[in-house]
Amino acid sequence: MATRDPSMICCFRLLFLLLFSVPLIASSSSWASMHHNNWAVLVCTSRYWSDSESGYPGFKFSFCNKLPRYHIEINSCNSKLEVERFNYRHMANTLSLYRTVKRLGIPDERIILMLADDMACNMRNNYPAQVFNNENHQLNLYGDNVEVDYRGYEVTVENFMRVLTGRHDPAVPRSKRLLSDEGSHILLYMTGHGGDEFLKFQDSEELQSHDLADAVKQMKEKNRFKELLIMVDTCQAATLFNQVLSSLISDDPICSLHYALLPHDCAATSVLDFGSSMSQYLAYGYAFLPAFKHILILQSPGVLAIGSSMKGENSYSHHLDSDIGVSVVDRFTYYTLAFFEKLNMYSNASLSSLFNSYNPRTLMSTAYYRMDLYQRPLPEVPVTSFFGSVMKTIHTDAAYMGLSIPPKTEAQFLPGDGGNHQLRIENEPDLEKDGNKQTKELHCIYHEWLNLLQERFENTDAELLFRYGFGTMVFLLTISTWLLA
């Protein structure tokens, strides 16, 4: 019985880890942008079985008086085509995508599902409590395990912005929050009725492209994502991203310079091909090398956006269910789903193959994606990095690492540090065996305690310790009973 009980050691280690991990947070120097979790925010914004408003959007969107300069630009794309007004399909779109990302591995707790109306229980629904996205009624999207986080009138622009930016009332439960961190890949899917630079929420308000851009910028500043894929299926969906880029770069001194010099260019050029216009700047004689370096270090915002239609285009429904009497799915979403149906969570299909699968002829609109805020080449990014989940389990020595965000100045050391960190995390289980303790010692003195204790136990017979302990317990028990008697 002289052998060490490894399980016991483990117990102790765990105990100590728990004890000491709280101070560790503060000392952790890593805010690595390694991709280690996936989130999805799926939003269906339209209410009612069938939309009854028509070609007078000016009356409906009276809200936009707050933003007078966009008032004129708002026009309903739908006034041309009456068939495009029925909102069942939006819920079906969202639920189909919900099912897909769940199937590809994003757990329910990491999906924020926002449904503006309960079509399944609408009295006009021919199939009570069921939602289908296909005429064949093979797949009930509203079956078991659908966890709707925001429903009905909770789906507002305000709540949507709160979810994205993470500024919640303290009473909001964790399940309704987007608890992403700097290592998160977020899929943001939105569908509903949209127009030029807006997306209608419910029947009363709208999300403007400015609002979305602002939210994305805040998320970036708060390190709430590593990469963000915004997918929008509405009419004129592409217009919704118009402001995202300018908001992300306009605060930078360099880009404001860039913008001042080439205002027409700024919206179109990315931060990365900034270098191409370098010579131009040099020709102007501006000394801006330190700032340029800063930009390169900041890296790209990692925002990828795809919309179902360009400006002036409608997003069409795919087909009509003659039992339910409404169209059940939009074309863009239908072909997206068709693409994903062929995949499982281990497949390596790339984003570019998804984007290339959109055929403008079958879509009846032009799927538009912009990757100027995204630096990884699309053919090398698997779709599962957004639509699926990270498969490997990661052991960290620090819980809530996401909260430990260092000041921005440290960003300069990011690339190298990130690499080290990754290495460290992955090798951690072997650290003890190899006796390679330097890194640990570097980080915390508390581990010394652990080692000390461990060393002492190594010399002691565990059996003996157990006996002493047992004896003491019996002794204590007899005394206490005697005292009580």
């Binding site: 009612y48 079985w49 009854s52 028509s54 029925f86 229980c121 009295m123 021919n126 003659s322 009497g325």
Partner: protein, 701 residues
């Protein structure tokens, strides 16, 4: 004067701004003759062009989605319909009591699991109440002193509650039938109504309740539906006398059938309601003997005083009938216009003109073929006529009183319904159409509001909206104020300063004549108290009393020696007519339009017969045109001319006028008021001017 000039110079800036419009007004007034000729001609031409300007209808409310769902109405429902039809014919024929079919229907309705009850009432005739125009409470007030108890009416009503609905809204289906003399087509229409109920009692998509009223139309379907609606909307208090009379009647006279009712329980008479009505469909079947190529559907929509249901309701019925069920959709048209050669000629001319216009600008969508024009004109004429009459074209009119959109759908099979195959196919189509319309309305989230309420139909799929048809009317009455101003100013300019108040004398005359007209309009109330029997005696009494009053009015005028020039009188009369027409155009546009076509030329042209004019030819022309217009614009004369023109043959009785007036006031038609308050005084004044002893202002001038 010096002060005035100073003021002029100081306000020159202001004056120069207002001067243009003043100058324009003065120009128009100065050339009032030309303006009135041009405006009248343009107004009438624009009116004739209305069929060309008609647009195609479209479904404006997106939520309706007609035809997007497949109909579930199947052969099973056809069997149901057949079963009930046969049962009604067998049982109804055996016992010719009015209650038998209602009982049978209730049995059927209860069998499919719907709620059901009897609605009973005692019919009462609509009496003339001068103070109760536009109010629907007249009937409750005049309870017959001794109601004939045998004549109560019993309707069976079925209600399907929407399984997951909130019970706030209802779609009403009405099938009128005659319980005394149940025809085969009545039985079929009841069969269709029941089959719809039996289908809807087990569908899952209902969001609105469905109410089926099998209305016993023994004494007129409108009255039955109206009384049911009255009970639906007005709460019945137990203390109300009429209800007690009803009950007493019912208990007394039906002791034989009472045992049956007792078995069913008293509950079967409890009036049940569903939510507010979203729309109502009145369903009728007409069995025609002659063969046609296809089954057809006639849509009747006109309610009282030219009110129309929302165009969307007609649109979905038309869309589903044409594009889903392959029915031929018909809308009432006046046959005279279909056959008249002048309309055809006009159509051909317009065809040429529109092709020319299209050469000028290919974007103008004006092209119309001659045949289209003729048909459009005939349909438009019927549309305007029924709106102008102000009498509803069916029991859907009763719904309009409660702001419920309703249409009558009258189906007629392509050949006799006795043929088994024809009947089955017919039932299937009809049932599917009604199911489709109900499902569309069921999708609605709001009241019908997207499409037009003010329109004329020139074809089942073509409409003229208020924005277009107001233009001819506006052009037509535009010269009235101009001519009035011209007459007034010419008269004022010629006379001295005292003359500026001379128009008050003319106004007095005009006012007295209008007062006379108002008294005349109220006379029927007095006449009805007299022991007169025949309509002709009523007419002659009415005319005699009216003429007496008119003579008295003129006596008063003579005695007070009011004498103003005919020009001032004409000017004030024209102003009164213009105000009257404008008001009427708001109440019932069609009446105002037709009235304006008669009144405006008469008002503009009328001149004293004895007035000297230069040429003999001009004088003769003026005289004849004046005479012709005076004859045509006299309401009874206009009625006679219309009768002979539109082929209502038979001897013309003066009693017709009384009956005609009776129809108008019993339906609370505003046309009655227009005729007697605006048209008649205007005509009398025109006659007055025509017969003016012309020594007036014109000779002075």
């Amino acid at each position: 004067m010096a002060v005035k000039e100073e003021g002029d110079t100081s306000q020159q800036g202001k004056k120069s701004r207002s001067r243009l419009i003043l100058r324009l007004g003065a120009l128009l007034v100065a050339h009032s003759g030309l303006v009135s000729v041009v405006c009248c001609a343009a107004g009438i031409i624009a009116f004739i062009l209305l069929p060309v300007l008609a647009n195609n209808t479209y479904i404006s409310e997106n939520a309706l989605m007609p035809g997007s769902a497949d109909p579930a109405f199947s052969s099973q429902e056809v069997l149901d319909a057949n079963r009930l039809t046969m049962d009604i014919l067998n049982r109804g024929a055996a016992k010719a009591s009015g209650i038998e079919i209602a009982k049978l229907l209730r049995e059927y309705i209860v069998a499919v699991g719907a709620e059901s009850y009897y609605h009973k009432f005692v019919p009462r005739a609509n009496k003339f109440h001068p103070l109760h125009f536009f109010s629907s409470t007249t009937d409750n007030l005049d309870l017959p002193a001794n109601p004939s108890c045998g004549s109560f009416i019993l309707n069976a009503v079925g209600i399907i509650r929407a399984p997951r609905g909130d019970g706030k809204e209802t779609i009403v289906l009405v099938t009128p039938y005659n319980s005394q003399n149940t025809t085969y087509s009545d039985a079929v229409s009841l069969g269709i109504g029941f089959s719809i109920i039996s289908l809807l009692s087990h569908v899952t998509w209902l969001a609105k309740d469905i109410v089926w009223l099998a209305a016993d139309s023994r004494y007129g379907e409108y009255m039955t539906v109206d009384s049911w609606l009255k009970d639906y909307h007005g709460p019945a208090f137990p203390g109300e006398t009429s209800r007690i009379v009803d009950d007493a009647c019912f208990e007394e006279n039906n002791s034989d059938s009472l045992d049956h009712i007792k078995v069913e329980g008293h509950n079967s008479y409890v009036y049940k309601r569903a939510g507010t009505m979203a729309a109502a469909l009145v369903l009728k079947v007409v069995d025609k003997k002659e063969k046609e190529e296809r089954d057809s559907l006639s849509i009747y929509a006109e309610a009282s005083n030219g009110q129309m249901p929302n165009l969307d309701l007609i649109n979905i019925a038309h869309y589903l009938a044409v594009h889903r069920q392959g029915l031929r959709v018909k809308i009432g048209s006046i046959i005279y216009f279909l056959k008249a050669s002048w309309v055809k000629l006009l159509g051909e001319m317009l065809q040429h003109i529109t092709t020319l216009a299209k050469l000028l600008n290919p974007k103008w969508k004006l092209d119309i073929t001659s045949a289209d024009y003729v048909e459009g004109t005939a349909t438009l004429a019927s549309s305007i006529y029924y709106q102008a009459l102000g009498v509803p074209t069916g029991s859907h009119g009763a719904f309009r009183n409660y702001q419920v959109d309703a249409v009558t759908l009258e189906f007629s099979p392509r050949s006799s319904l006795n043929n088994e195959n024809v009947r089955s196919a017919f039932l299937l189509k009809t049932g599917r159409l009604i199911e489709g319309v109900i499902r569309s309305v069921n999708n609605l989230l709001e009241k019908f509001h997207q499409s037009f309420f003010l329109y004329f139909l020139t074809a089942p799929h073509k409409y003229v909206s208020v924005g277009i048809y107001m233009i001819p009317f506006g052009i037509l009455i535009a010269p009235l104020p101009i001519v009035a101003a011209a007459l007034f100013s010419s008269n004022n300019g010629s006379s001295n300063k005292d003359g500026s108040w001379k128009w008050l004398q003319a106004a007095k005359v005009v006012f007295l004549i209008h007062l006379w007209a108002m008294i005349t309009s109220l006379l029927p109330y007095v006449l009805l108290q007299l022991p007169l029997v025949t309509p002709s005696s009523f007419t002659s009494a009415w005319a005699a009393v009216a003429i007496c009053f008119l003579l008295i009015t003129y006596l008063i005028l003579w005695s007070s020696s009011i004498d103003c020039g005919w020009e001032l009188l004409k000017s004030v009369m024209i102003v009164a007519a213009a105000i009257g027409l404008s008001l009427m155009s708001v109440i019932n546009f069609s009446t105002a339009q037709i009235g304006a076509m008669l009144i405006v030329p008469m008002c503009l042209l009328v001149k004293p017969a004895r007035k000297q004019t230069q040429g003999v030819f001009a004088k003769a022309l003026m005289l004849t045109s004046n005479l012709a217009l005076l004859v045509v614009a006299f309401p009874p004369a206009a009625l006679l001319i219309a009768k002979t023109l539109f082929g209502a043959s038979g001897n013309i009785d003066i009693g017709d006028f009384w009956e005609w007036a009776q129809i108008l006031w019993s339906w609370n038609s505003a046309t009655y008021m227009y005729l007697l308050w605006i048209h008649l005084p205007c005509w009398v004044l025109c006659l007055n001017i025509f017969l003016y002893p012309c020594i007036g202002s014109s000779s002075k001038a």
